[in-house]
Amino acid sequence: MNLAFKDIRFNLLRFLLTALGVAFLMMSSMGMVGLYRGIVADALLIIERIGADQWVVQGGRQGPFSEGSAISSTMDRRVEGIAGVASARRFVQFSQQFTRDGRQLRASVTGLDFPKDPGRWIPIVRGRPLASGHYEAVADMSIGLRLGEKVHLGQDDYTVVGLTRGMVDTGGDGLLFVTVNDAVAIAQRRTSEEVLLARAGAGPAAASRSSVPQDSKIAAVLVTLNPAVDPELVRRAVASWGDANVLSRAEQENLLLNQRLWRLRVQILAFTGVLLVVTGIVVSLIIYMLTMENLHEIAMLKLIGADNSVIIVMIAQQAFLIGASGLGLGLMLSRLVFPFFPRKVLILPGDVALLGIAVAVICAFASLLGISRALKVRAQEVLS
């Protein structure tokens, strides 16, 4: 007969509550790791999806994500002239706050070099990509905009023609894709006083013009290379201009993870470590306490002549049953709860497997504690 199982069935409520407690600890550990994974994934999202081999940015800077970068909006033509460059797209991204129905919304306005790049790489879940050079936007659902709705940005109204899910920037703000020209216009939004002043100076024609001014700046030029070309040649060509810097995709990713997000990552990892240690201690204690509760029965088992293996199996099985149910339940809770969190929480199978191994080690350790205590119990303790 399986003593561990009989005990659990008899004290089912206690077991379920214990497993639930362990499950919550597992869930927070998974959530912490998932938050870390989510932040890294969000940070790298645009760099990976946008599919550029190289980023041409402001000279002497490492923008546009790690620090600011402003280059001439005609830089793309110069880049296109370099041998080996298949295409050059202009890129701009900035945070924007706006109100809708009296509520403040945030978005990370991201420029697409329409019509060269209508944004077919963007995973649209509803609606369509940009089809016109002006006043259309593809918005991430996290911003809170609806399909077909008009939103006032800068001085113009933009229609949301497509929706994405999970497209966010490093800070977790949803991306709002518009054409580069529109993005630059939004960035150069003027206050109403400025508009009035401009109108007074240059007449109504100047005020109504919302196209990009000649001296407007963009953040970067995205370079796609011909397959056979040596990236180093393009890099040297750009460097020779003196006013621009080239970063490879790998360098961009490295900058984000190891410069911009370095502190946040270490912070989250440290917290995860603390949480795992706490989880380990608490789970060990729970299992140890359960063994303590059974000491009288264990002494009785010894008295009626049970071999140590009977006692060891009972304790170990109980420990692993609690660990396994806690892990399983924790995983279920995570799946249920984390989608409602404001930022991405990524639960990767590899991380779950590692957590499973950690739980197994914790259970083994706790069992050993309990077993060593149980084996010290003397049969005559039944009488006390």
Partner: protein
């Protein structure tokens, strides 16, 4: 030649050291119990009755002297009692004031466990445990957990558990103390029955003066010694009625 006594305690001493003082819980006790015999052990509190049962039951080693069970010298001051667990479960059954049943097992499981521990297959163990309980008038309580049983019923389950591996020696420490006098007497009568049908040797510690007629003889302890002239009855006398 007659068979050796089931239990033979020879000049056993037991000292407990607590701080600077030494308590002589047992001070040179000798005792033989034969097959089919029910022996009562009485004496004032602290006279060493429980200590005697612990030593006879191989749960404590004596400080001096030796214990023989079925003619085999099993316990002495240097004995490693933990290695006698298998021997214990095959030769000795214990019953205490409290039934000490395992709360998460049903009556029949509590008894079957004692058999499974001795490597009886689960089905056979359960069947035999059920039959054993039925023979103790507990056939209708097999699947109840201990918390659902009365004190007397619990104690009878404990008796069944002690009997499961057909031990030749039954040791009972105040088994009736928690029961009313009618129930208590029933348990003691059960011991008589077991001694007769199974040819087991039974030692019962009891304070109950009214139960003395159910014993073949009674040993009275006082300050760790058997009191001179305190042996009542003769071997087998009570077993004949």
């Amino acid at each position: 030649m007659s068979p050796p006594p089931v239990l033979s305690i020879r000049d056993v001493q037991r000292l407990y050291r607590s701080g600077d003082t030494t308590v002589r819980a047992l001070d040179g006790v000798s005792l033989d119990i034969h097959r089919g015999e029910v022996v009562g052990i009485s004496g004032p509190s602290g006279s060493g009755k429980s200590t005697l049962l612990l030593i006879a039951g191989l749960l404590e080693p004596p400080s001096a002297g030796e214990v023989l069970i079925d003619g085999r010298r099993v316990s002495h001051p240097a004995a490693d009692l933990d290695r006698l667990r298998t021997f214990r479960r095959n030769h000795i059954g214990f019953i205490f004031q409290k039934a000490n049943l395992i709360p998460f097992l049903t009556a029949v499981e509590n008894v079957a466990l004692a058999l499974e521990i001795d490597h009886v297959p689960p089905r056979a163990a359960r069947a035999y445990a059920g039959a054993l309980l039925a023979s103790l008038d507990l056939g209708h309580r097999l699947d109840n957990h201990p918390s659902r049983l009365s004190g007397g019923e619990q104690q009878r389950v404990a008796v069944a558990r002690a009997l499961a591996n057909a031990p030749s020696l039954l040791l009972a420490d105040e088994p009736t103390a928690a029961l009313d006098s009618v129930r208590g007497r029933q348990v003691l009568q059960l011991f008589r029955e077991i001694a007769r049908t199974r040819q087991a040797a039974v030692a019962v510690v009891t304070h109950d003066q009214r139960a003395l007629d159910l014993f073949d003889r009674t040993i009275e302890l006082s300050d760790g010694r058997t009191r001179d002239g305190a042996v009542h009855g003769t071997p087998g006398a009570a077993g004949t009625h």
